[in-house]
Amino acid sequence: MLNIYYGNMPEAVFNTSVYFKNVYEDKWITDPIAQEMILDIDKSVVLDSAVIDSPVMGKIAPTSLSGGVKTLILMKNERSKVFNASTCGDNCAKWILKLAEGSDLTINLRHLMDFGEGTFDIHIVNTDQIVHNMKELVPIAGLYV
């Protein structure tokens, strides 16, 4: 299940780009799910663990991926950490829900990400409530951001 702590969370990794630059591993980039996320969000193709083909920037290193994709890759690979997911745009929301399928994922949000029109199970850590759609989520989470 996806657990979200809304608002300021000192123990969360705030600057995910800096953290990613210093800890990422080659296999994180070539992982099939990471490749799908990179293609979907950055419209870029992983050529190998060190080179990604971006339609705008040309051949780039993994550190030049978007902040959103880097945070998603961290969420997938470092489950013991809590990351600031406000570095992710709404186009990352479906991937966050997907990464939380089948196992617990805890993130920190400092804004109201749009998880779309569909239904989901999200545990709001601040109030220990489980919500199932945006109409239920916003009145609770909005009080903390």
Binding site: N8, F14, N15, T16, S17, V18, I41, D42, K43, P55, V56, M57, G58, S66, G67, G68, V69, S86, T87, C88, G89, D90, N91, C92, R110, H111, L112, D114, M134, K135, V138, P139, G142, L143, V145
Partner: protein, 322 residues
């Protein structure tokens, strides 16, 4: 600094072209739209000039503020357009708000978080409109007559309850109008940060929120997300209550209409942290020796006289408060 400033920055792969016109501009939006790439290009041009391979055209110097030493960097930035990328947690602090308050810079801040300590306008929140290699800024919240989230623009908004941000003259004005009609309750939230909770508490009623658009930017995202599920809630966000009075023409001064056409050409960022404060000062100064003498604390009853009131209400289009 005042006025509008066009920024064109490009390298061989990407080009950005946009205009900013207030002291604080917020850039947010989806991942991979080029927000960080924009700030990187500004930084590289500032550090290396044309040797960076980046061309930058702007009538003001563009620079980047970042890292733990931001307090030391800031005093060296004068009459600049200052870009701040996400990942710089200091933008959320009261220290930062007070440090930039009296500076003559404009600030462009990349963040998805609302920053309650900064009085930025709902009109100056942008995403990057991306058409491949060419980026420009696209306003996030669009409106007609300063009204937001109205399902049918041809239908007048007739609320059961009005919630104002203002607890002083603005609230007294709207409360008087609501009392005259006798059908609408008017309450004040005593500050913008309380509005969301008040709206949540009354979300099943027909609500109109009235707040100063010039400084309401930090609250905008969560309110728009909330009212997406509640079409019975509408927002009316003029620049400020004082702007409504100035716009109405009850103060006979030809300079005022000129100013209101292009406020950015008159509002010095070093003197006024937000436009709302400028409009208050302008109204106080313009009325100081007339029967319409304005005070923010206590509404002058002259503003509720029929002729004056009718003129002010002509500015508030699309809303029926009587």
């Amino acid at each position: 600094m005042k006025g509008t400033h066009r920024i064109i920055v490009q390298n061989k792969r990407i080009r950005y072209n946009f205009v900013i016109k207030r002291n604080i501009t917020i850039i947010r939006g989806d991942s991979a739209t080029g927000k960080t790439a924009l700030v990187d290009m500004i930084r590289e041009h500032f550090e290396n000039g044309t040797a960076s391979g980046i061309e930058l055209t702007c009538d003001k110097e563009c620079t980047v503020l970042e890292g733990r030493t931001w307090r030391g960097q800031l005093p060296m930035m004068r009459d600049c357009i200052v870009f701040i990328d996400e990942g710089n947690e200091f933008v959320m602090s009261d220290d930062f708000a007070s440090a930039i308050r009296d500076t003559d810079n404009y600030y462009v801040i990349v963040t998805r978080e609302g920053i309650p300590s900064l009085p930025y306008s709902v009109d100056e929140i942008y995403g990057i409109r991306d058409s491949g290699k060419y980026g420009t800024l696209k306003r996030t919240y669009n409106e007609l007559y300063h009204l937001y989230q109205v399902p049918d623009w041809n239908q007048t908004v007739k609320p059961e309850k009005v919630i104002t941000e203002d607890s002083n003259s603005g609230f007294q004005f709207f409360q008087s109008i609501c009392e005259r009609g006798g059908q609408i309750t008017c309450i004040n939230a005593q500050g913008k940060s309380n509005i969301f909770a008040d709206v949540v508490n009354h979300r099943k009623e027909k609500i109109l929120v009235i707040a100063d658009g010039a400084a309401f930017g930090s609250e905008m995202e969560k309110l728009m997300r909330l009212i997406k599920g509640y079409p019975n809630i509408a927002l009316y966000l003029p620049e400020s209550f004082e702007w409504i009075i100035l716009e109405s023409g009850v103060i006979e001064d030809s300079n005022i209409s000129q100013i209101l056409k292009h406020p950015e050409d008159y509002i010095e960022s070093k003197e006024f942290f937000s436009w709302e404060r400028y409009f208050t000062t302008l109204l106080v100064q313009s009325t100081q020796s007339s029967y319409l003498k304005y005070s923010k604390k206590q509404l002058n009853p002259a503003y509720l006289q029929e002729k004056v009131l009718d003129k002010i209400l002509t500015v508030i289009k699309g809303i029926d408060l009587c």
